[in-house]
Symmetry: C2
Subunit: 444 residues, 2 copies
């Protein structure tokens, strides 16, 4: 497919931070052609008028549990322990293999509609998610979650060996759109021996790791008591920070002084999901200090059971607003940096480091935003508009690897009507509700 977008405004996020006006942008197969230098030999199959449209790199989501869309709204206004024990685990005890497919499909629809083309997912029955990613045209880095003390232990539907087999089977599948990582849950849910085994298998297979790390004061205390080391140092000691690919760790809400140097030296990517931290009243991770010490930080949404949604526009906004308020410095995290934290940074964190910039030869992972709604006007600063006023509904076109996946309300690779029905039906079954509970007589 050859697509020409004519006369658009283009936010490149390149090294010069160029914002082009009345620019022509061409997609040739899977990649972007030089901006403003489209060769005469390029004959497009499709031409899109770029008037009132804003082109930018697509968003990537550094950490989620996609199928947990099924539990969205099922555990509101509860303290973390009750959220987990009384709600999430109860619902997940009823989780069936195919539920994961439909939950992830609902997540895919939500992510595409909001301009997200790639995500790091960490959950169970990940072959279901891989099937969905393959057919949806998206990109993903998938890890089959493992928790338990012994490698052979049956947990989350699969043994240690099965989760490793998943990594081997699906890595670089779908023309490279699917990457896989080892998926130990965390250093508090997996023993040091298991973490060592994961490090060995990752070395053997040439992949990375994706896990949860250092989320609370309690975890910090327990790790110091049990291992004499912080959670970060504990994971470093298992070899998981010395893999062929840099590690992706979620959260790091609580760090000690030496942890920053470990994370920076090992090139670890830290996924930051602020909406979940606030909603579940967790500590806000010290990302400005991480960034100052050259730790890679990438934004993400976490799963919708905690985060409510999968909206990277809102995540950028929450990060900018929170950090400005926290530091009493309105210049903290300027707009261009927030845009990179939601595009280039998570793309790199999950293994797609060529994405996140509109430049010649880069993968055509991009979106067009419709800027006609009132909240975009006047167009004094369209970049600030993206960060501080835009909504998923403004996303008009979404391409991944040059394939158009979403166009003005229409999902081109997903059967959205079926997804709606299957996801809701299964979600209600998991929590013991029948569909008829939505169809009762008014309770007046």
């Amino acid at each position: 497919m050859r697509t020409l977008i004519q006369d658009a405004t283009v936010i490149t996020l390149d090294e010069q931070d160029r914002l082009l006006q009345h620019a022509d942008l061409a997609i040739d197969g899977e990649t972007i052609l030089p901006l403003g230098e489209i060769p005469p030999s390029f004959i497009p199959d499709t031409i899109i008028s770029g008037q009132d449209l804003l082109a930018m790199p697509a968003f990537f989501n550094a950490h989620t549990h996609a199928a947990m869309t099924l539990e969205r709204g099922w555990a509101e206004d509860l303290p973390f322990e009750r959220w987990l024990n009384e709600r999430i685990w109860v619902a997940e005890s009823a989780l069936e293999e195919e539920d994961v497919y439909w939950g992830a499909a609902l997540a895919a629809a939500e992510m595409l509609r909001g301009g997200i083309v790639g995500f790091a997912d960490h959950y169970f029955w990940m072959d279901q998610v891989a099937r969905l990613v393959e057919s949806s045209g998206m990109k993903a880095n998938l890890a089959w979650c493992h928790f338990g003390l012994a490698p052979a232990q049956e947990l989350g539907g699969k043994s240690f060996e099965d989760t490793v087999a998943f990594v081997e089977h699906w890595n670089k599948a779908a023309g490279g759109r699917i990457l896989t990582s080892m998926g130990p849950h965390s250093p508090y849910m997996d023993s040091p021996a298991v973490l060592h085994r994961f490090a060995e298998e990752a070395q053997r297979l040439g992949v990375g790791v994706h896990l949860h790390l250092s989320e609370s004061d309690q975890q910090m205390r327990d790790s110091l008591d049990r291992y004499g080391r912080t959670p970060v140092a504990q994971v470093a000691s298992t070899g998981l920070f010395d893999l062929p690919l840099p590690a992706l760790v979620a959260h790091c809400n609580v760090l000690q002084e030496d942890d920053y140097a470990i994370l920076a030296e090992k090139g670890v990517h830290v996924a930051h999901t602020p909406k979940t931290y606030q909603k579940l009243a967790m500590h806000m991770p010290p990302i400005l200090e991480m960034l100052r010490r050259k730790v890679h930080v990438a934004l993400g949404t976490d799963g919708p059971a905690s985060n409510s949604d999968l909206n990277m526009l809102e995540i950028m906004r929450l990060v900018g607003l929170y950090q400005k308020g926290l530091t009493a410095d309105a210049t903290a995290l300027p707009v261009a940096q927030l845009l990179r934290l939601a595009t280039q940074a998570p793309a790199a964190a999950i293994g797609f480091s060529q994405s996140g910039v509109l430049a010649p030869g880069r993968p055509a992972d991009l979106i067009l935003l419709d800027t006609t709604a009132p909240h975009w006007l006047p167009r004094h600063d369209l970049s600030a508009g993206i960060v501080y006023t835009a909504h998923p509904g403004d996303v008009a076109y979404v391409w991944c690897n040059g394939q158009l996946l979403y166009r003005q309300g229409e999902f081109l690779t997903l059967d959205y009507e079926r997804i709606r029905f299957e996801a809701e039906r299964r979600a209600f079954r998991m929590v013991g509700k029948s569909m008829h509970s939505m169809r009762l007589t008014p309770n007046v």
Copy 2:
């Protein structure tokens, strides 16, 4: 007009917090009929199928400067002093009377699209805003901003007497949809003598007051130095908290112990605009303590020059997330309370205390949200969906006083194409840009 909405889900926000399913909701003229008890004699002019639609009270906005849409995006990532001196005042020095009409019209479009039907506005040339409110069908409480030491001083285009004349002329206009208030800027921009004069005039005319109050440590120190009293106590001493209607004060970022009792005893409504506080790195007002001490708190957006947008859905979300994080208590400010803070509370704060609940005989100020987009599914908790996942684009229908003002992307009382053109043209003129600056050759 008689409108029947059939088979909808209805969030009443009544005293029993009833959520009705498959309910019929009827609007007869300006008011709502008893839910589920529509008399056979009611013959609707219009029937709307409520399938996949969620009815709720419309939002009200307790504090804004509507025409400052014209400066949206014009002052990003700047410290407060530079934001004000280098950007806002420079742009406003070029403000012309008719600009206020078109800036407010753009604000009206944005607010209606996001389900806001009423707002408290505090700015200049407020007769322009009154004209706009009159023709748009919205509700508003309008105050002509005055700052200066002497009543006769010429500032903001009008003298003290002129701003009082505006209050007298427009109060209860447009069938009661327009209310007016005295509009001294603040106790640091208006002298005690001027504030006294405003209190006298408000008594004479039977109106309230809308002003800025206690926004920073500096204001607190200056007030204590100059008057030996906190800003709250200083305003109380001028009589402005003893008017025929309760006072509306914006912000109260910094309070001292005795201030809470004054605000509670005098029935003052405090407008809370958290996005602006975070974006400009101001102190977050202690609203949980205010609520605990029975101070009326109502949510608002402030002006788009500081706040970027006019989105009460996002304001609820920011308040819930911030306060849960701040208190390390995930149960703080549950969903139902946040919904009230964005509907009933600001409606009451700006003089429309019958609005904000769907109940028989109440004004038909209501909205329908379309719940078919992925972020609404599964429908475990639609109230939580409104607070934590909804966007302005989900708002499908908006009624104010029984008049349909917005329907599925269409503004029924506003000429949106003309507003877009006029607002942007004028905004660019104010900051010295020509429209052609958006129409330049690509800067590649």
